[in-house]
Symmetry: C2
């Protein structure tokens, strides 16, 4: 008796002997080889494409001869005629084993294939989405076996896919019967696997084999902006991205003023909840339109946000987050129906997953940053600064991870800045000032040329200055000697440039004057400088507090993150004193790490389960009650600042020794303080 | 070394040795003795009252001496001062073991105590409600241990009560923080245990120890009437009962006309769903008001209903239930949030449980009847007839249970009857007709005297005739010779009474003429007779079909159930030919068995789990496709009817041999048939 043929799969190397006639898909499943299939081996979905190799394989000790697989069959021929099958490819559900064979599973046929992220990638996402498609054949109803249509669908999912514990929410139950009959008892089911329990929820049902794509939203719900990525749930690619202002801004620019609004106005939290949910609904419609899909193709949404946004999203009064001990209503990850949050513009049965919060001031956004940047896996000590209206700061390595949040205010997002605006076409995003002539040049979003370039023709389109632009402007002003280390802007006489104009008792530096052409006057005012000083002092103080707690006075590397983190210039950030001193090549922009964390959680149930563990391992440091925080904050007011040494920066640039004073009485410092203070 | 004291509990007989100083409650828990406690042994709830016995117990082999329990303590004294403790009672959480002791657990201290049902009781309900109260002490929030308030509450439930998998829906999460602080971190939690999974849902939270009661609704959602019982979830007692008409009647009187309405009118099912949900909301408010409680004390609702009502309640188009193979959208029991069904007048987080359906025409109401009447546990062959617009019929014994439904129409509920009305004050419910004088006497709901009684003073309040009244009236007319066996009413000449008046080509019998006093004229018309004939033929044909299937030509006993089942006179039902012949003493009224089944499910999670098994064991017989059904239906048209023998009835009454014909042309039969026909 000869033994059964040997089947070897690459790249996994898994192997086993199977009787002649066994379909390759069956062999793969029995060996646990990662070979995709949506239709369950019916030759419809073509996801199980494989590539047989022929010849001598000394490495594997086999020779694969012609005829090792069954002949090309009519199902494969039909598929090839209609859609085309790459040369050398077979359908794994149709081709059967006939002799020893080596089968390659190409990346696109792997379920858990790695999705390569963009340039800024810190890690790859392995696709393991909560919502997947399953094609099933459902037994027809029978008067002698009177189970319901749903129960027979659940049985098909169990028998064909081994999936248990299937539930259908009412919106699905409403349409189920019609769709089963329309599909002649063959349907494709979009099924959502809970990451917090063993339940499977049917999100949607399509008659027959569904050719379309399904999507999920990764939403970074910030105090100032709401940023969303629409991701294809089969491969994790971003089909569209969109951002809008958080409409809660009208209730208060920063978190504490929104908490105050809720405290002072009965029902205020209800208003804010309604506003943010409506905005997310609008964003959902916009992003679907941008990607050219229908909103009901959006099966789920993952949210990351700070605790106040978190509570206002789920409809909980954030008042407890405004006072010690900053108790969260709930800290664990949440899985719930989108309709329970009035998020009615995605699929009727869409599911929402909200990442866990680390603490009362360190939210799901910080958890998402930790998921994306993985400080706990870093060999060297990394400081991660997620810049936003509330900054999330993480410091750690494999031994320990600390986290805090710091109330920077919205200045870094272009709010509270006289000519500030969000990062959108027309906003100044890069600034250089010539130290000799004190003349500026800049770039605006949507144009590649510098403003001094002869081809630059967008002067009329300049609308304001965005977060990264104001950081560069302030740092360049300091380097050009237009600003002293206390943050005072010099007068025209003091600086030798007419661009320094008097505005009341203080001065402003004119970046661009388009008024003659009916355009905007873009200047950096003394108030703008003070807002940036407060923001950067809060940011720096938070980082220093974590360094104190860790017992270190320098970090090995720094990651700048945030909705606009990718755009911050490390050098300018260091000139400002936003971040501790570090070798410039060790300062990296990670882009919107919280948003990336949301995308990772969207693409991977495993990541959703991981984050619970990661969050438990993070030690939270409370800035609001640490006396040292206030001390660091005051010391960090100078530019770069008063106490901590900046050896790396000093080696890089020489900051001019200038010192200005006020034109009138009083002090700028007073004026600056009048604007806002960090939470006590 | 002497051994530890022996503690013996009665009535369970459980015993064990415990170190001196062990609280009785602790000993009871360790032995698995059913001793209640809501506060977890804090001396607050007084649910753990026990009664120690002293003296010689030869049966148990112990002698209980004074001092066997610790002395009366200050907690018990305070409780006695404020609320009073029955003589001889101690608090089980305070009294500790000091020597051998016999402890009696009085019925009111048992969690799973039996609740004695009313006169019609077929079985006792053992309390095991899904929603129970738990008093817990929650750890205060701490900045150094930043878990959420919900997570700490869940931990308290785990540590103090051993309860895992606790969830809070958004309405609870919204108010949780305020209530925890108001209760100074001690709260009473109304916790709902799922019967379909292991989840526990928090329904409500009360600051401190909650003294109030919590309730559930058992709702029998019929085609014509919606009947509800409000039950105290601690002891199962009915605090209030209420019934209203199902407003869907305006879309069609019987099930099939409602299915037709949905088929003919796009969105018709949405209208009907909205109507029935609104009615249930109104009913909820009314019944709470009647019981003097607030609607938020209603923690859950259990529904029983036929499949069409079931689908319209959950918002599914019932169109598939109107045609073979009568496929249900879902057949299993459902557990969902009341707010998902727009049932917003009970507690915001109230839960709904809907019993499973047996088949496309045999619904959760039949399942509830099976739960209440337990035909599968009967040694003799029992026929259970649940009379309603759609009758549920069960036939079985320990060997096998069959079920079917039959479209009787609403005549038995007083609809489609010229003077018909639902059972309410003013309705004629009992009728007798003197065979000699042909004069009637009757009773109306709300009055004890017969209408011929000299004290009868309610003539002016007579408003109509209810279901049980019309059954008695028709049967009495037959017995008095006013009606022949084909169902024709004789003329005044033929019957010798002026009460038989001509109405067009047919006749009517005047039961009561209040017109001279400005009151109602209550008569039984030929049309009424035809409606009753159609209804009773359908009912009988269903019962006969099951008997055919079972291979029997008689049954041992008959149970009449239904919203008005308790009021049907067995003799009159048999004269009509509603039910097969049986010894009169073997025909019993069970009241609203479906409603009782709903109450049982409301009071017992175990029963909810049982019903799934019971339903699987019932063989469903489909009346709609059985040719024999139509044959039985036609044969059952006569009164009592044409073919089957009625020996028991014949021994009881002699029906006069009369035969009438029509006054004019055409046939009454045509006229009757014009009204409605059973489903083909």
């Amino acid at each position: 008796m000869t033994s059964d043929p040997l089947v070897i799969f690459t790249p996994s190397g898994k192997r086993g002997r199977f009787p002649a006639g066994t379909p390759i898909l069956t062999a793969a499943r029995q060996l646990g080889v990662d070979l995709d299939s949506v239709c369950g081996g019916r030759g419809i979905c073509s996801k199980c494409q494989i590539a047989p190799s022929y010849g001598e394989f000394s490495k594997h000790g086999v020779t694969v001869r012609d005829g090792a697989l069954s002949e090309w069959n009519s199902v494969e021929q039909r598929y090839d005629d209609i859609r085309g099958l790459k040369k050398g490819r077979r359908l794994g559900c149709q081709a059967t084993v006939q002799g020893d064979v080596v089968i390659d599973v190409p990346p696109e046929s792997q379920v858990h294939r790695q999705v390569v992220r963009k340039a800024a990638a810190a890690r790859d996402i392995v696709m393991d989405p909560a919502t997947k498609m399953y094609f099933v054949h459902v037994t027809e109803p029978d008067m002698h076996e009177p189970s319901g249509d749903l129960e027979r669908l659940a049985r098909a999912l169990r028998d064909e896919w081994g999936i248990m514990d299937v539930h259908a929410p009412l919106p699905v139950l409403k349409k189920l019967q019609k769709l089963l009959r329309k599909g002649n008892w063959e349907v494709t089911v979009a099924l959502h696997r809970g990451s917090l329990d063993t339940r499977h929820q049917i999100i949607d049902v399509y008659p027959g084999f569904y050719e379309g794509r399904i999507y999920g939203l990764a939403i970074d719900l910030g105090s100032t902006t709401i940023a969303a990525h629409l991701c294809d749930l089969r491969n994790g690619t971003v089909a569209a991205s969109a951002g809008i202002m958080n409409p809660q801004i009208r209730f208060g620019e920063d978190l504490m003023s929104r908490v105050s609004y809720a405290m002072m106005n009965p029902g205020g939290e209800v208003e804010m909840t309604a506003a943010v949910r409506a905005a997310i609904n609008d964003l959902t419609v916009d992003i679907a339109a941008e990607a050219g899909i229908t909103p009901d193709q959006i099966m789920e949404a993952v949210f990351v946000c700070n605790p106040v946004m978190h509570h206002l999203l789920i409809g909980v009064d954030p008042v407890e987050l405004g006072q010690a001990p900053f108790a969260l209503a709930t800290s664990d990850a949440m899985g719930l129906a989108a309709r329970d949050l009035d998020l009615t513009r995605m699929n009727d049965a869409a599911q929402v997953f909200i990442l866990p919060c680390i603490a009362g001031h360190v939210g799901a956004d910080a958890a998402a940053v930790a998921l994306s940047e993985e400080p706990g896996k870093s060999e060297d000590l990394v400081l991660i600064v997620d810049v936003g209206t509330n900054a999330e700061i993480l410091l750690g390595d494999t031994s320990r991870v600390l986290a805090c949040s710091s109330p920077t205010g919205p200045a870094f997002e272009g709010a509270q800045i006289s000519a500030g605006q969000r990062a959108a076409p027309g906003a100044i995003e890069r600034v250089e000032i010539d130290p000799e002539t004190k003349e500026p040049r800049f770039k605006i979003i949507g144009h590649d040329q510098w403003s001094t370039d002869p081809d630059f023709d967008a002067a009329a389109q300049i609308t304001g200055i965005c977060g990264s632009g104001i950081i560069e402007a302030v740092a360049e002003m300091r380097m050009a000697g237009l600003l002293d280390d206390k943050g005072l802007i010099g007068s025209a006489e003091q600086t030798g440039t007419a661009r320094c104009i008097a505005t009341g008792r203080t001065h402003a530096y004119v970046l661009h004057d388009g008024t003659a052409q009916g355009g905007a006057l873009i200047s950096v005012t003394q108030g703008d400088i003070r807002a940036i000083q407060l923001a950067k002092s809060a940011l720096y103080a938070g980082a220093r507090l974590l360094m104190d707690e860790m017992g270190v006075d320098h970090v090995d590397r720094i990651t700048l993150a945030g909705a606009f983190g990718a755009h911050i210039s490390p050098k300018h950030a260091m000139v400002l004193g936003m971040i501790p001193d570090a070798p410039l090549d060790k300062v990296r922009s990670a882009g919107n790490a919280a948003g990336t964390g949301a995308r990772i959680a969207l693409c991977s149930v495993t990541a959703r389960q991981d984050i619970a563990r990661i969050v438990r391992q993070i030690t939270k440091v409370e800035t609001a009650i640490a006396p040292k925080f206030q001390e660091h904050f005051v010391n960090a007011n100078a530019i770069p600042h008063a106490t901590d040494p900046f050896p790396n920066l000093a080696a890089l640039v020489t900051l001019p020794h200038v010192s200005f004073n006020l034109g009138g009485g009083g002090s700028v410092d007073d004026q600056g303080r009048r604007r806002r203070r960090p939470r006590k």
